[in-house]
Structure formats: C-alpha cells, structure tokens
C-alpha cells in the first residue's frame, strides 16, 4: 500500500480556541475524499490547518515529505476589476489544461469579472484541479453552482481520480456521496437522509 499523503491523528485545531476535533483520518494518493458537516462545525478550519493557516492544539497532522498542495478557498478571490480572461486565469493558476468542458469553453475568452458567480466558481475549481498537486483542498466548491454546474463539477472531479488526491469540503451530502470515493462525517448531527 502506498504511503498516505496526510495522516491526522487526534487532531484538534482552531485559532485562538479549538474549533474542531479530535479527528483521525488518512488520505491516500489519488483518492477523492469528501468532508461533510453542518455549517459552522469547522470544516474550513480543518482545511486551513492542513494549509498551515490554523493552529494545531493537540494531536498531529503529518504530511508525506515533499507533498505539494493546492488550496481552493471557500471564496475564490474575485476582485472588483480583474482584467484577466479565462486563459490568463488558467495560466496563472499553473493549471495544465487544454480541453475544457463544452459549457466552459465559451467563457474562456471573457474577462473573468464578467462571469456569473457559478461560472467563475466552476472555472476556479477547474483551474485548481489542473494544478496537478499531490493533494488538492477544495472548500465548498458547490457554492453558486446550479444542478448542471454540480454535474460538471462531479465530472471534472472524476477526471482527476487516480491523478491527484482531493479533499473536498461541503455541506451537500448527496453531492459528496455522488462525487467522492468516501465521505468523512465530522458533524455532531447525523447526515440528512
């Protein structure tokens, strides 16, 4: 069995105070893992801890030596003025992308500040998944997406399976079940039926 990319063991993390934990899990290379929990339970904090942006109180978070990370924040940066088109955006994301999904191909020549919220979200996730990092962290990638957008997202997630590992945070349990190899439940309450 290959060495895990990431091992959390009794991890308690937060900022001034602990927000979430204790948690124990491991991420294997190439697998897509969903992280489910109700709003405010600390899902984003867990991703921030992996991205060295939150404090670890107790437990441990071990990364495989030389692990490369890509991190899509909950709100991808969207400036008031962004004189970049989709091609620029992909280039500066260092995304190795050539053939976009059909629906997305039409947007790449547009300035990204003229895209709708859902269009921009899909572009941002597609760019991040194209970085070919060992582990890609996606924070609420279904934000602003309509059902068709969620379907495209599930397809592009399938395309990276086996190439990069993805840790995907969402409060939409059904989407996670559909798009991920497995789902880690970090909520105190049970997932919806």
């Amino acid at each position: 069995m290959p060495q895990p990319l990431l091992i959390a063991d009794g991890l308690v993390t937060g900022y001034a105070k602990p927000v979430i934990g204790p948690l124990s899990f491991a991420i294997q290379p190439g697998e897509v893992v969903g992280l489910w929990g109700a709003n405010g339970c600390g899902k984003s904090t867990l991703l921030r801890a992996i991205a060295n942006k939150a404090r670890i109180f107790t437990g441990s978070l071990k990364q495989r030596p030389g692990l490369s990370l890509a991190w899509q924040m909950q709100q991808p940066v969207r400036l008031d003025e962004m004189p970049f088109n989709g091609h620029d955006y992909l280039r500066y994301a260092q995304a190795n992308r050539s053939t976009p999904p059909n629906r997305m191909a039409l947007w790449l020549d547009q300035r990204i500040d003229t895209l709708s919220g859902g269009q921009f979200q899909l572009l941002a996730v597609w760019a991040m998944l194209g970085r070919q990092a060992d582990l890609i962290l996606l924070d609420e990638p279904t934000n602003n997406l309509d059902p068709e957008g969620q379907q495209i997202l599930a397809e592009i997630l399938k395309a990276v399976q086996g190439v990069s590992a993805v840790l995907l945070v969402s409060h939409e349990y059904r989407f996670l079940e559909h798009a991920c190899h497995r789902v880690i439940n970090i909520a105190k309450s049970s997932p919806p039926n």
């Binding site: 942006k53 990370l69 890509a70 940066v77 004189p83 088109n85 500066y92 994301a93």
Partner: protein, 279 residues
C-alpha cells in the same frame, strides 16, 4: 524646439520613467497598492530635498529615502493603507520643514512638486536607464509571482514557501521607481503616471496582455503630448501632464460607462440573466 539638444536629455529621461511607471502601476493597482506610489513619492521628495540641502544629487538621496520606506513597509505590520498614509504625512511634513529652513528651500520644494524635467542632467538619464533595466529583470521574475499571489493566495503558505523575498523586492522596486520618477518628472506627475494609465487599462482591456499594452500606450502618449504642450505654452511640465491625463481619463471613463451600461453583463446571477441590459 523639442529636438533642441537642450531638451533631448530631459525628454529621454522622462520618457523612460513614464514607460516604467505606466507598466509597473498596473501591478500596483492589481495589488491594491496604488496609494503606495503616492506614499513613496512623498518620501522620495522629502529625502531628495534633504539631499539637495546638503549638496547631494536629488536622484541619489530620493532613492535612499524610498528604499528606507520600502524596508519599513515590508517589516511593519500596518493594516490596509495605514503605512502609505504615514509615508505621505511624513514626506509632506519633512518637505515643508526643510523648505522653510534652508536657503533656496522654497524653490527646491516647488521644483520637486511641479517637476524639474527641463533641468535634468546626465545623472538623471543614467538613473532612468538603470531603472528600466532593473524593472525589465524585476518584472520578468516578479509579475507571475505577484499575479499568482493576488489571484490564488494561500498557495505559498500551504506549501510552506516564504514570501518575504518577493515582497521585499516588490517594495524596493516600487520605492526605487517612485524615487527616480519623483526626482525626474516631479511628485504628482510620477503618481499620475503610476495611477491613471493603469486605471483606464483595468477598465477597458480584455485580457492581461492588453492591460499592459493599453496602460503603456496611454502613459507614453500622455507624456509626449504633455512635454510638447508644456514647452509650447511655456507651462510647468508636471501640472500639464496631470491635467492631460485627467482629461483623457475622464473622457474615457464616461465613454466606458456608457459602453458598460449596454454590454457589460451582471456580475452575479444565473447565466440566463447575464446579458440583461441595466437601466
């Protein structure tokens, strides 16, 4: 008259500075640090004046002051535009105090604010040439990093890559360019060249490459027109440049707004609403 050998050196010095600022200003705007240009210009103006009071060439003393400002900005932890406001206030206060307490201080102060383009010498041309070289190398290295960090923050922290090197380099280049520009075309003209062409380019360009080209062309046309006009009308160069850039920017802004009302889609919403016409 412009081809008079007396004006060739000032023209070339200002030309190089205008080229640098109109391109570098695009990165300042992208980082939301355009106010830094004004802060560094004030610091550079003040230190240039101190230098001239003790017979050090303005271009060297201005650079020294701006570099000190760049280092302070990098290591300080002020939030938002606080550090730029402090630079502006400190620069303004020092400039006026030095001007009030030295012989010829008043006229030197005016020269710094209005620009002393027509009295530039070989040292200014050399400094401007050096700035172009530093900027060409610096931008080749820095531009992708600055853009990546602006659009995709957090990647460096996630991969435990330090950011202080490129941040310091960016601040030093900002300080250096504003110092040489302030000593060359004057304080407000330097700020206008770093602010107005990028502002117009950000509104009108369709992609990043076009942003750089529009800003560069706008800055160069503005500079050449101002140089000729100021000579022809016997006016101070700095205010003429600022006035011309402002007039052109306002006209383009109005035209662009009318264009936006018709064609620019709504920013947020479902795709079927995107081409709704705003009223």
């Amino acid at each position: 008259m412009i081809w008079d050998t007396l004006f060739i050196m000032p023209f070339l010095s200002g030309f190089l500075v205008a080229a640098v600022l109109s391109v570098f200003g695009v990165l300042l705007r992208l980082r939301d640090e355009w106010l830094a240009a004004l802060g560094f210009a004030h610091l550079a103006g003040a230190s240039a004046l101190i230098g001239m009071a003790v017979h050090i060439p303005a271009v060297f003393s201005a650079t020294f002051g701006a570099v000190i400002g760049a280092i302070i900005k990098t290591i300080s932890h002020f939030r938002g535009g606080t550090v730029y406001a402090l630079m502006i206030l400190a620069g303004w206060s020092i400039t006026l105090l030095v001007a009030a307490n030295t012989r010829l201080g008043g006229s030197l102060g005016h020269a710094m604010v209005e620009g002393q383009l027509y009295f530039l010498g070989f040292s200014h041309l050399m400094a401007a040439t050096m700035l172009v070289i530093v900027m060409a190398v610096g931008l080749y290295w820095l531009m992708p990093i600055v853009i990546r960090h602006r659009l995709f923050p957090g990647q460096d922290a996630a991969n435990q890559r330090p950011t202080w090197r490129w941040r310091l380099a960016f601040d030093l280049i900002t300080g250096l360019s504003m110092a040489i520009a302030t000593a060359t075309v004057g304080l407000m003209a330097a700020f206008a060249l770093a602010f107005i062409p990028p502002w117009i380019a950000f509104r009108t360009a369709k992609n990043w490459r076009q942003t750089l080209i529009i800003s560069f062309c706008f800055g160069m046309v503005g500079y050449i027109a101002s140089f000729v006009l100021a000579l022809w009308l016997d006016q101070p160069f700095g205010p003429v440049l600022v006035a011309l850039l402002l007039i052109a920017a306002i006209i383009l802004h109005v035209v662009d707004r009318r264009h936006c009302v018709i064609e620019r889609p709504l920013k947020v919403g479902r795709s079927k609403d995107r081409w709704k016409v705003e009223k």
